[in-house]
Amino acid sequence: MSSAAGNQPSKKQPKPPCRLQVGIAHISTDLFEKFNIRAVKVNASSKCNIPQTNVTITVEIWKKGKLQNHLVLTKTINSSGTTYPGSQVNNFSTYKFCENIARTSYYGVAYSKAFIAGKWQYARHVLSLETIPLNCGT
């Protein structure tokens, strides 16, 4: 299982059978502009070109601190059935409402596991490509 946050694979490397992607931490423009709701959110998805079962995708939202970074929320979604080649398994449900508009930098971390070809395969931790400052204190 491979993991990526948007980087292109090297030309010499064979294309991995699975790909885990994590997006940048963001506030939904639509929810803010139409409903004045602020929530920081990170999306992740996994796609394989071979069958897989029991796909589990975990997404963590982190915020940067002066001395250390702080975990905000972790959500794990387990898709119990078989996922066919080309199908995508998503974790689109990791979000946390903002308590205030304090400028805070966030990033996402995702990792996954799946049962593929008779054994468990693990994707290493993938970080968002960018750490984004948002007007969202949590």
């Binding site: 929810l31 803010f32 979604i77």
Partner: protein, 109 residues
């Protein structure tokens, strides 16, 4: 305002909006019930509920609030949520109110 559209289809974006708005509404309209649940949970260290075909079990694991959602359908997706425990009890109640509301609002699929 940063946005990210790369992963979600228009239908998924619609569902995202519906679920997060519902969660936001629940945190306000059901606040009194959630506060009672939060205090019960903080006193006992465990709370469970059933909503929308899921069994939700709240506990404390690895010094975090944990919510495990188990589908009553064998083919349904299961999920779990972990959140760091704030120091002050009032903040703990607020954190739990959001966890309860997120559980009741459902997944963005």
């Amino acid at each position: 305002m940063e946005s990210e559209e790369v992963f979600l289809t228009s239908e998924q974006k619609r569902r995202e909006s519906v679920v997060i708005r519902e969660c936001f509404r629940l945190m306000q309209d059901e606040r009194s019930r959630y506060e009672k649940q939060a205090n019960e949970f903080l006193d006992l260290g465990y709370f469970s509920s059933e909503t929308n075909g899921y069994l939700f079990e709240f506990s404390i694991e690895d010094n975090q609030f944990a919510c495990t959602a188990t589908s009553k359908l064998p083919t349904g997706d299961n999920y779990s949520t972990f959140a760091p425990i704030p120091e002050a009890r009032a903040d703990q109640v607020e954190e739990l109110i959001e966890l309860f509301a997120q559980s009741d609002a459902g997944l963005i699929q």
